[in-house]
């Protein structure tokens, strides 16, 4: 098949040309017939005028908007703002109209600016933090604290250094469940200095499956942001002791991790909004997530879906006064080779 025939519009063009040619043939044949029968010339001229008017209308209502649309798309692909051209873009149908609106909302300059601003802030922060400088400083604080006999400060500093060492380096990597759980425990250890006995963490799984579960791999920093969310939005607002549970389970095809708290929970509307922001397109969800629900869950969910496919990800269950559970569903992977979308890792 030639290059033009690959596109549906090429075929439509061909068909339209064929119809136009047929129309012209019929018109010429009709005019010749009318003249041969001695009919007045005005009738022939009227038919000719109608044909030209039709062609003119078709040019203005179909061909021209279509060309403008093509040009606008080309501009957009070259990285230019589509600006004025976007107004000339006529949608093919209602689905196409929705698609165009979505693209236009993605390219909304204020949103792009916000995203760029956040990226710039992140880069600035990353540039400021020299990991080795940070670790060395924390180690120095720890030594000073030990010399001064402040063992709790030394412990806390050690935990913080351990947490940063894990968090800052190679965020794009996959890690084992065991490493993620260790990081959660470190984070919990740091939070205990603030909450003391008011916070309890329990990690549960079937003893039979423990070794296998701990070997499974998942994106780095999957559990800790969720645990942090549970503390901030769940147990911190609760009167009395807050219980956090991480429950791991393995089925034939999936690794299921549930992070639960017995905190204040949330109402049905908030829950619906939160769940609907999960599993959306990456950019849209980031924007919505930042505005409404906090970026942590949306970010973790996006990373999982981009890496493993849309049948995996996060889902939140909650009721007012009954706590919240975030269920993470992942494929069972023990090697980076098993990842469906390896190129996403970069």
């Amino acid at each position: 098949m030639n290059e033009k025939g690959r596109y549906l519009v090429g075929r439509v063009r061909l068909l339209a040309l064929a119809f136009a040619a047929c129309g012209a043939v019929f018109l010429v044949y009709g005019a010749a017939d009318l003249l041969a029968r001695g009919e007045p010339l005005t009738l022939v001229l009227l038919a000719l005028a109608a044909y030209v008017a039709l062609a003119f209308t078709a040019w203005h209502t179909v061909v021209r908007p279509y060309r403008l649309r093509g040009r606008a798309i080309q501009q957009m692909l070259r990285g230019y703002g589509i600006g004025e051209a976007e107004r000339a873009m006529l949608p093919f149908d209602s689905g196409d109209e929705l698609l165009l609106r979505q693209v236009q909302s993605w390219l909304d300059p204020s949103k792009v600016f916000q995203l760029n601003k956040r990226q710039a802030q992140y880069l600035a922060l990353q540039n400021q933090i020299n990991p080795h400088f940070l670790y060395n400083t924390l180690e120095s604080i720890r030594s000073e604290a030990l010399l001064a006999g402040l063992s709790s400060v030394a412990d806390m500093t050690e935990a913080l250094a351990k947490f940063f060492r894990y968090t800052i380096s190679k965020v794009e990597n996959l890690v084992t469940v065991e490493e993620e759980l260790q990081n959660c425990e470190t984070y919990y250890h740091i939070q205990q200095y603030r909450f003391a006995e008011r916070l309890q963490l329990n990690i549960r799984c079937s003893e039979e499956d423990r070794a296998e579960l701990y070997r499974c791999r998942l994106p780095k920093l999957t559990l800790q942001p969720i645990l942090e969310n549970s503390i901030i939005h769940g147990t911190e607002l609760k009167v009395g002791v807050g219980h956090l549970t991480i429950y791991l389970q393995k089925t034939g095809t999936s690794l299921i991790i549930q992070v639960s708290d017995d905190g204040v929970g949330m109402d049905e509307k908030t829950l619906a909004r939160l769940n609907s922001s999960l599993g959306k397109g990456a950019l849209d969800a980031q924007m919505e997530g930042a505005r409404r629900t906090g970026v942590a869950l949306v970010n973790v969910d996006n990373r999982i879906r981009l890496l493993f496919g849309e049948e995996y990800g996060l889902h939140v269950y909650s009721m007012p006064g009954m706590g919240t559970t975030v269920e993470i569903r992942l494929p069972i992977i023990t090697s980076d080779r098993d990842i469906a979308n390896k190129e996403v890792l970069g």
């Binding site: 089925t251 095809t253 049905e268 619906a272 609907s276 990800g313 909650s318 009721m319 007012p320 559970t325």
Partner: protein, 493 residues
Amino acid sequence: MTREALRLSDVTLMEQGTAQLQGFNLDILCGEIMGLLPMNGHGLTALIDLLRSNLQLEFGYVYLQEELVNSWRAPRAHDNRIAVISSVSSLVDGLTVADNIFVLRPGFRAWLIRPGVLVRQVQPVLDALGVHIAADAYVDTLTVFERVTVELVKAIVAGCRLIILREVGALLSDPELARLHAILRKYAREGVSFLYIGYHYEELVQICDRTAVYSNGRVLRILRPQDGDLPYEERYVRRVCEQLGQQEPLSGEEPVLLMRELCAGRMRGLSLYARPGDCVVVQDLQNQTFDDLIATLTGERAIERGEIRLAGRPYSPGVDRDIAILRERPDESMIFPQLSYLDNLCMTVDHRLPAIWLDARMRAGIRKEWAQSVGDEVFDLTPAQLTRRQRYDLVFQRVLLQRPKVVFCIQPFKGADVRLRMHIWELLKALLNQGIAVIILAVNLADTFTLATRLIRVEQNSSRCYEKSEFDQLPFTAPWLQLYKRSADAEHP
């Protein structure tokens, strides 16, 4: 490692432009009994249809035994091997138990049916369950419990590894329910999974490994038995406790209804009495006398022995506005869809206002009076446009307008979701507050027990009456019994 029997991932299902399920997530493990507690019934039927028939999805994935069976990208037209057991029988009348189990099974290809062989094959299965059902018995003769058990066996024999039980608790008495639970556990140990849909958390918590709280086409929370009571139940418990503190039997008044040794059909020797404002709960442990009792009241069946006295005079069965009967699911069974809201409301008021159907002003007066409590807009709606709650309101308002002395309610909470149950409870309370005696006919005590002044337990040709003061000493377990015991302990520390 545990295998998943069912997994619905992010399922959104639309029907006629309305979202029936939205981001619905649920997984059931092999050998698990998963409860489903609907706060409201929106999308519940669509969920069951989806599980059975793989409807076209707006978004999401459905996995059965860890295999993708339906996806929004590529819908499949075949049915899943999932059985549904509900109040409507799926057995074919006129055939035997063995025929229903084997012959009507998908994939049965024998040309010659040998009843003797079928009976020999099915009888050991039934015996192993500890139920005494003859394999050659016709299904028309089975009790509800036996019917449910046969449907269960039929599903297992047909190879269903997931069975949906929809509100079976409302069909069976407490002992029958306990026997059914034992059977379910036995099959669960063999790897069969169940989705057990019920509107009573206290019932679900007894049998289910986990319970999904469902509302508006979404799962809100997955609860384990150790998670404690639902907050909604707590609110309900508080109302019940208030009720326990309020209601005092009016011991001085004459009974408005008296039944003495009543025998008709399978009902043998039923005795009860009710004073104005009393709530008498009649619990039939065999689940077979209510039809005869209602038929006796309506005059369809003659009284063989015993008598009924209403307000001190002998009651002659037939149409009598002093007795009202609220049938099961009155929102469906007692509303005339072709009549207006007002006509439905005035249906049984003719004994008080004989000119009601001739005098439009009289009906307008009733509309004006009731509009103050229910709002004027409902009168402009057709019954089909009413919500379920509004339909229940309509039926109970009709009874209040009728002003009977006694109301018989057949399983008033059957089929009602958690929120509707609380509303029905309030509606029944309104009847009692008007001094109307309410006789609740129930196979399962559940919510009815909380309103009871008196409990009559009917079992095998005998009945036993318990007054409210004896509730804390009842020799069986029942929902809410703990509250009565707590209340009695508080009074006599």
